[in-house]
């Protein structure tokens, strides 16, 4: 083992993250090389000083703990329930009223869903959870939120970025088993009043869309309007 290799591995050595063979090599090198042994000692001392300095700082978490406990013991907050009830009521109205309506962004969402999900045309999708979370964060969308529909039986399968009506959206694909759904999300860059869920149809695709101060969301399903609405309701609660 060279000194350069040893220095590069010091952190893993200190954290006991080296495999046993590497660890034996490291021990031997440190035994034979005073310079690297000194470097290790300096690093340990620096780490100890830093750890002590930060861990010794006084912290009072009493009030914070109290607030969190109150929030948790409240269970499902009433504001969520009332928001969900409001969304559901508006949903019914718009479901009746907006049978023919298809603004450009929704038409493009329906087209994307048909091409990329129904016809499965080749696209560069991201499948790995960590990478999907990072992409959501990159668009200022909560990673916890995008996974929330999973509790209702919708598995998040994949994600990509797309452009709808000139704006960048996250295109998330969920599956409830037999059926795949698209959820298009865009972080809100201004603060309009929250708008209720709109529902409509474009070609063979059923749409349900809503907008809050935080984001714009469009759900597309080839299955039924009710199925699109159900996922939109879940997304509205979670996001």
């Amino acid at each position: 083992m060279t000194c350069k290799e040893a220095v590069a591995l010091l952190t893993l050595y200190l954290n006991q993250e080296l495999d046993s063979a590497r660890c034996v090599e490291m021990d031997a090198h440190l035994h034979a090389c005073p310079s690297c042994a000194h470097e290790l000692q300096q690093q340990q001392e620096l780490d100890t000083r830093l750890r002590t300095a930060i861990l010794d700082e006084p912290l009072d978490t009493h009030a914070l703990d109290q607030r969190i406990r109150q929030h948790v013991s409240a269970g499902t907050p009433w504001r969520w329930i009332s928001a969900a009830a409001g969304v559901a009521a508006a949903l019914v109205v718009f479901w009746i009223v907006f049978a023919r309506w298809t603004p450009p962004v929704y038409a493009e969402a329906a087209e994307d869903h048909r091409r990329e999900v129904v016809e499965q045309q080749t696209r560069h999708w991201t499948f790995e959870n960590t990478a999907m979370d990072a992409m959501a964060l990159g668009q200022s969308v909560s990673p916890v939120g995008i996974h929330a529909p999973e509790t209702a039986g919708y598995r998040l399968q994949r994600l990509k970025l797309c452009r709808l009506n000139g704006s960048i959206y996250l295109h998330l694909v969920y599956s409830d088993g037999p059926q795949q759904f698209s959820l298009f999300l865009k972080h809100g860059d201004r603060e309009p009043a929250a708008e209720p869920i709109d529902a409509g149809r474009h070609g063979a695709e059923h749409l349900a869309a809503f907008r809050t101060s935080a984001l714009t969301a469009v759900v597309v399903s080839g299955q039924s309007g009710a199925a699109a609405l159900r996922l939109a309701q879940i997304a509205a609660r979670a996001l």
Binding site: A8, T11, L12, N15, E17, Q42, Q43, L46, D47, R49, L50, R51, T52, A53, I54, L55, D56, E57, L59, T61, A63, L64, D65, R67, I68, R69, H71, V72, S73, G75, T130, A131, D133, A134, L137, S140, V141, S142, P143, V144, H147, A148, E150, T151, A238
Partner: protein
Amino acid sequence: MAKRQDEFVRIAMPHTRSLLRVARRLSSNPATAEDLVQETMFLAWRGFHQFQPGTNIRAWLFRILLNAFNAEGRKLRSTPATVPLQSREFYADTHLQTAAEIAQVLDELGLEQRTALLLVVVEGFTCREAAGILSVPIGTVMSRLGRAREELRKRLAPKCSAKEAS
């Protein structure tokens, strides 16, 4: 529901202090740090059904904290003013002052380097765990740590030399 609440209080709440400690070093403002931890715990409670029992709750909470910080915390984030090395006052050699001095130097590091040091050196996560929390490769964590330690040592060295000289 009560069982779930009890479980959350039992396994997540003990980590509030660690989360706040790191949040304070990220946001450099006690009030906004508390807001960040509160938001983290609210998000964790909302997503608690997604937590897999038996996995690392602490790493899970820190991942939420850093995600919340990145997603929501842009307005909370403060970039500490950089103080030129030669203009800093040297501290007397008491434990308390040295700790304050080290904390100040830590706050002056870049956010990525600071976060790597906080997770691995202060909070005791392995490099692999820190990589998972930050959603970066382990090599990235190691290089950030290497640069952070080098910078920390460089910035603390003049003071040490001055004390030795006196």
